[in-house]
């Protein structure tokens, strides 16, 4: 299927987010769409599939001009969208989600459970994932939910599949599984639009690439004709310099020590420490228990045993309030359900974590509020229309910046970052790394959980690797490389 989008304009209210955007998708190609957070990639695709209506411009599919009025209509025409935001019914099972709206029936509306189960299993097997089809969606990890979303798209006989940051929450092996599927889809002549901020993936996978900047079409190139630096240059319009900025920080005394942290079947005898000004990278496969360990340290997840010491003294942390009082900040991995008040403004999100700072005796102080919010938006370069901008309508990467901003002003002694750069563009990643370095320079002990190996290797002083709930090794970043970390992460030893 060939799709041509030309001269697309789109405004939300008075704010124009697409100006003369577009691209051409050829039959059976994997086409990357790149651009900074908020460049309008997701919006452009949502216009194609009828989620939003365009103000201007044309969409031509196989030579005919079309306007899809709803995603269902686009799906009938063979265009399927795997959204960046997980779009599931969290109270229902995997199988029910897969077949939502397209149940197999025996007639008279009676569902054929057996047939659906078999079909669901078949698709899962093809993807090489092992998620029980009768598991409740809400109880799966973000990565697993993402896999189900992808499977959902494969259930229909699609001619075009749009993947909006599909790997943001996937493990290495899940990602490999996905790439194999994409390869076989390509061979079948299915076209794929692939949106991602991971440069390596784009260069491994895609045939062509289209760049958007500030809602405007910039250029389309064959991947083989360009370099990563060219892409960055086109995306941002400026150089960003080194990808992982160096930091020159004298590492101080131990700030946090964890001893014998244990939760049945989740993690076992976890011991580690972090020092002032140090960045401890935490690596491991998805589901290894990294997030759970951090949640437990933060008091949001109960545990059977274990001690936590801050500045050498044992502290009791049974809930997040105690953790915050002890000087811990926690950027959770799931910004949608845990990180943000989505329907609230940027200002309210920053303020809620800093209520003490923006008030005196329980009464809010408008001046302090405005100050801290303005600082947050400027320092993190949140792309928005103002402090009142609802977080729901921010692009994914900008949402992440808001989450970071709200924690940083709490002046934590220890900051735990769980996947801090997920879904964040290259330029913004660099900005987040700079912030991490600044914090380290101020003497904050930083723990950074990440599934992106280059990031862990590039940013950490030491790397702790977790496998199935146990720490398999803590190595100095200077001696670490991809192979060593992967060995530990899969349960091997060095």
């Amino acid at each position: 299927m060939k799709i041509e989008m030309k001269g697309i304009n789109k405004s939300f209210g008075t704010n124009q987010v697409l100006k003369n955007a577009g691209f051409v998708l050829e039959d059976g190609e994997v086409h990357a769409l790149m651009g900074e957070n908020g460049a309008g990639k997701s919006t452009l695709m949502k216009i194609l599939t009828g989620v939003y209506t365009r103000d201007d411009g044309t969409v031509i599919v196989d030579g005919e001009e079309v306007v899809y009025k709803s995603p269902q209509e686009a799906e009938k025409a063979g265009i399927v969208f795997i959204y960046q935001e997980i779009n599931s019914l969290f109270d229902m099972t995997v199988e029910e989600n897969l077949f939502m709206g397209k149940e197999i029936t025996k007639g008279f509306g009676i569902v054929d459970k057996k047939a659906m189960r078999a079909k669901a299993q078949e698709v899962m097997d093809k993807m090489g994932v092992s998620i029980p089809v009768d598991a409740v969606m809400g109880e799966l990890s973000v990565g697993q939910q993402q896999m189900v979303e992808i499977c959902k798209a494969l259930m229909v006989d699609a001619k075009v599949i749009i993947m909006d940051e599909p790997t943001a929450a996937l493990t290495q092996s899940e990602t490999e599984g996905l790439f194999e599927v994409i390869e076989s889809l390509r061979k079948k002549g299915v076209s794929i639009v692939y949106i991602s901020h991971r440069m390596e993936e784009i260069f491994e996978l895609c045939d062509r690439i289209t760049i958007l900047r500030d809602g405007t079409y910039i250029d389309t190139k064959y991947i083989k004709d360009i370099t990563m630096d060219d892409v960055v240059q086109m995306m941002i319009g400026r150089e960003i310099g080194e990808r992982f900025p160096k930091r020159d920080v004298k590492i101080g005394d131990e700030v946090l020590r964890v001893e014998g942290l244990t939760k049945n079947k989740v993690f076992h005898d976890v011991c580690f420490s972090v020092r002032a000004g140090e960045v401890l990278g935490v690596s491991g496969l998805m589901g290894a228990g990294r997030t759970e360990i951090m949640q437990s340290i933060f008091g949001n997840l109960s545990r059977e045993s274990g001690k936590i010491f801050i500045d050498g003294e044992e502290v009791t942390i049974k809930n997040p309030r105690q953790a915050i009082a002890a000087g811990i900040g926690f950027v959770t991995e799931d910004r949608k359900t845990e990180g943000l008040l989505l329907e609230k403004s940027i200002a309210e999100n920053i303020e809620i974590a800093n209520l003490k700072k923006v008030s005196s005796k329980g009464v809010l102080n408008k001046k302090k509020q405005d100050e801290i919010v303005k600082q947050g938006i400027e320092e993190f370069r949140v792309k928005c229309f103002g402090p009142w901008h609802e977080c729901n309508n921010l692009s994914g990467g900008n949402q992440q910046k808001v989450v970071l901003a709200k924690w940083i002003y709490t002046d934590p002694k220890i900051l735990i970052l769980d996947e801090p750069t997920r879904g964040v563009d290259i330029g913004a990643k660099k900005e987040i790394y700079d912030v991490i370095n600044q914090l380290a320079a101020k003497g904050v002990a930083v723990i950074m959980v990440s599934s992106e190996l280059p990031e862990v290797l590039g940013m950490s002083d030491r790397i702790m690797v977790v496998h199935e709930g146990t720490v398999t090794g803590i190595i100095d970043a200077a001696d670490a490389d991809q192979a060593k970390v992967m060995t530990l992460a899969t349960g091997g030893s060095l």
Partner: protein, 327 residues
């Protein structure tokens, strides 16, 4: 933090309930000369005060993503407690205080059921609603307690009790202004709620809890505490409304306040507060309360049969809520 630029649509969305209110008042005023008298408006305010006070508490509960069905029963039970104490010769001031505390405690019970008991707010307060009504019936043996004011021995106590529901604040040259005390209490309550919800950290915590309790908890908001507090507030406000009621009618009966929860919820909904929490304004609730009061009062004056009144009210609520959703 407010948006800088507002479109006309957004303006109507935000103040729709007030526009509806003004429209209603104009229409009924045109048809009925009786309606548009100052004394009727004051009377209307007095009538609105019961629902208003309850609805303010309800707004906090709904903002925190809860609901309180027990307000009508709390209203009755705390009023009965006050009445019984007065009949037992307890000084009126103390009886009033105890009654307010009792209402607060009854709210705390609902809050604890919701948080520690992990019951859905609807179910938890359905339980307390039923239980409190039952208690009210048990205490009174199902019979009304009447002639309260004359049972109070001390003069000042009797005055205090009477002034709550029947009093007027009289002022101006030749005492030309006379405002019912319940209306004044309503306005003071409005100011307090407005301040708390929009200018204090506690207000922020209520909104955050209703918006996304998980996230709020992770940034250090004691969501359990917030939830218990809002039910306590709701209980307190119900008790306050109950006291004004028994002062006004000079008697208390266990069936007081039946169905009041529905009027309160309707007022909150009319005012544009989201039923799933996190969004809404106290002034909207005031508009909702006044709309319901104007309808009740106006339709009565116009001589519309009570059967039709209900249907008309339903239609107005439907229209208002639907137009609110178009934002």
């Amino acid at each position: 933090m407010e948006k800088n630029k507002k479109s006309i649509g957004a303006f109507i969305g935000e103040y729709g309930a007030f526009l509806a209110l003004v429209l209603l008042v104009i229409v009924i005023s045109c048809v009925s000369p009786e309606f548009r008298t100052a004394s009727n408006f004051l009377n209307l305010l007095r009538q609105a005060s019961f629902n208003g006070l309850i609805a303010f508490g309800m707004t906090c509960v709904i903002l925190s993503d809860g609901i309180d069905l027990s307000v009508g029963s709390t209203f009755a039970l705390s009023a009965i407690i006050c009445a019984e104490l007065i009949m037992d010769g307890v000084p009126a001031g103390l009886a009033i205080l105890i009654s307010l505390l009792a209402g607060t405690a009854l709210g705390v019970v609902s809050g604890v059921l919701v948080t520690k008991g992990r019951l859905q707010p609807f179910i938890a307060t359905l339980i307390t609603m039923t239980a409190y009504r039952g208690l009210a019936l048990i205490i009174t043996n199902g019979k009304p307690i009447s002639r309260l004011a004359s049972s109070i021995e001390s003069e000042s106590g009797s005055f205090l009790f009477k002034v709550l529901g029947k009093g007027n604040l009289v002022f101006g040259p030749n005492e030309m202004f006379s405002i019912p005390i319940p209306a004044i209490i309503l306005v003071v309550a409005l100011l307090i709620f407005y301040f708390v919800l929009h200018h204090t950290t506690f207000g922020r915590r209520i909104y955050a809890t209703g918006s996304n309790a998980k996230c709020a908890n992770l940034v250090g908001v004691n969501t359990t505490g917030v939830k218990i507090s809002v039910y306590a507030i709701s209980g307190f406000m119900s008790a306050l409304a109950g006291l004004i009621m028994i002062s006004r009618v000079d008697s208390a009966q266990p069936t007081l306040g039946e169905g009041y929860e529905l009027d309160a919820i309707a007022a909150v909904a009319l005012g544009g507060t989201s039923m799933s929490g996190g969004r809404g304004k106290i002034v909207g609730t005031l508009a909702g309360v006044l709309i319901i009061a104007v309808l009740n009062n106006g339709l009565n004056i116009l001589g519309v049969s009570t059967y039709y009144q209900e249907v008309i009210k339903a239609i107005v609520i439907l229209v208002a809520v639907l137009s609110d959703r178009k934002r």
